[in-house]
Amino acid sequence: MRRETQNILLILLGGALLKLSLTGMFLRYVKAGLQPLLIATGVVMIVLALIAIVRDMRGPAEIAHDEHGHEHRSSRSPWMLLLPVLAVFLISPPALGADTVNRSDRNAAQESNKGNGFAKLADGQVIPLTLGEFVTRTAWDDSGSLNERDVKLTGFVVRKQDSVYVARLAISCCAADASPIKVKMVGQPFDSLPTDQWVEVTGRVVPGSATKDTAYVPTFTVASIVPVATPLDTYES
């Protein structure tokens, strides 16, 4: 591959990273904390390419060749750089959803929270909780602090066999390490809601439903369910 082409590819790739990190699209793929690093990476790529271009223009006769032509076997590997560029600019894949949830039976209720004790829940009619906290409490909090309490959860609709779940994905670094967190919904028909639709559900946990036999997936009796817009950052951490 010619040097000029490599430089153009670098600029395109740097531009793709900048586009992702400046528009917030990067939250579909990685954690929010990576944003400054991504911006720096995009800038470095573009600067390295620009330096090469400027230096080529200043001394065109001597770039990229010398007397021993046999050493100029160029590589095809840089072509691969085009793939992420096209993926970002043309396809911009969506955040992970129901398909990923159904790939694993793991439920990211971390056992390691078991010993830490649970803070008292806020007072009030309806307690908003993340799915991660809800699942962890139902699985490991023996005091039954959630029983008889109205809870509001946010997530997307997932179907597996005959069950309907509200779920989210937790990522610790990037979307490749996503693990599902899900809660089984009962209490009404959910036929009107398409899979992957984001919802807010209010209801109560069925006490003792998150056990080893259910892979720590609690059952949730739904009182109300409302479709909501997809949040900017769809992942929990």
Binding site: T41, A49, E62, E67, H70, S77, P84, I91, N116, A175
Partner: protein, 361 residues
């Protein structure tokens, strides 16, 4: 091994205009030698520049069709994982090539030789421990290891650094400690297991390794014209490494995404409940998932069905050998190197992890 010790050749014939380096490229899988170098008149030839334009135009024209084609849940998942792996790894790769460029430009080979013990067998553990100082994941360490070889560091020593750096640095250890709050011994177990892997592989290379397995291009220096400023060498080395290694990193991302979708991980996780089978299954899982070494502890901790030992194997094997790393190594050091090095590392890493696990867990 020889080439790294050569003094940089000085291009006399070109008049040595300042600020110019001639790029000796590297990589030889392809018979590209017919390509006219540089700016010779290109009449009648299609260059990569035209091909690139054509591809871009085609992609734009066919965008709607492409988007429809990918409108299948599995393919969308794969596409998302692919972009995620690339986006997550690029900052670390850029970090690695900047260090690599800095070594090429500012660290003379003699300084490195003075720093390391003369005896290779002694230098191997030193290099392994030195990995603590490179706070990145595995993508950063490949270009750095290659540059160390070019500066005359024996391959065994550079390889030991390559294997140790992604696993024993403070960021990864802290991430492991946070993930395994309930099993704090995982941290020393991981540290020792990974360091042991790196050292054993370094010693094995000292004893059995052959320099000719490493592609000649990996050891060759970029030629320097007289009067080239160090900053120019720095920028050119970094750019060159980034373009080359970036391509292979993307290739690794393609594999990781494909495996992510094609391999039924839930099935593998249930298999892992027996210890012996679990060790093997988790080692394979570490290879195909190609997780970043800063993230793998969080994945391992969520596999609550498994005993600690298979999870430790997962943490030790992952940073040492996975599909993304294999692609990077094959691209950087050549296929005949990667085909020998990766399987050996795989076996050594499992053994080291089991030893560390028996001692600490």
């Amino acid at each position: 091994m020889g080439p790294p010790h050569d003094k940089a050749k000085v291009g006399v014939g070109d008049g040595g205009r300042p600020g110019i380096i001639s790029e000796v490229t590297i990589t030889g899988e392809i018979r590209g030698s017919s390509k006219p170098p540089g700016r010779r008149p290109l009449r009648g030839r299609v260059t990569s520049l035209e091909v690139l334009c054509l591809v871009l135009v085609l992609a734009l024209v066919l965008q709607g069709w492409l988007v429809d084609l990918l409108d299948v849940p599995q393919l969308q998942t794969a596409a998302t994982v692919f972009v995620a792996v690339c986006v997550q790894a690029m900052p670390f790769l850029v970090f690695g090539v900047l260090i690599s460029g800095a070594i090429a430009a500012f660290v003379p080979a003699s300084a490195l030789r003075r720093l390391l013990p003369k005896n290779t067998a002694l230098a191997v553990p030193v290099a392994g421990v030195a990995g603590v100082a490179l706070p990145g994941c595995e993508c950063a360490s490949v270009p750095v290891a290659r540059r160390l070889m070019q500066q005359g560091v024996p391959p065994a020593v550079a390889l030991s650094f390559l294997l140790a750096a992604p696993a024993v640095n403070p960021i990864v250890l802290v991430a492991t400690a946070v993930a395994f709050r309930d099993a704090p011994m995982m941290v020393p177990a991981r540290f020792v297991g990974s360091l042991l892997t790196a050292m054993v592989m370094g010693w094995l290379w000292t004893r059995f390794g052959k320099t000719e397995w490493i592609a000649e291009r990996a050891l060759r220096k970029l030629e320097e014209k007289e009067g080239t400023s160090r900053w120019a060498v720095f920028a050119e080395t970094a750019r060159h490494d980034l373009v080359e290694a970036g391509g292979f990193l993307v290739l690794g991302g393609v594999f990781a995404a494909a495996f992510n979708v094609l391999v039924p991980t839930s099935w593998l996780e249930t298999l892992g409940a027996q210890v012996v089978l679990g060790v093997i299954v988790m080692a394979l899982l570490a290879v195909i998932l190609a997780l970043c070494s800063e993230a793998d502890a969080f994945v391992a901790v969520s596999m609550t069905a498994l005993p600690l030992l298979p999870r430790l194997v997962f943490l030790v094997v992952g940073p040492a050998v996975d599909v993304k790393l294999f692609a990077l190594q094959a691209g950087t050091f050549g296929r005949s190197f990667a085909l020998r090095f990766a399987p050996a590392t795989f076996v050594v890493a499992i053994a080291s992890a089991v030893v560390a696990g028996v001692v600490f867990l």
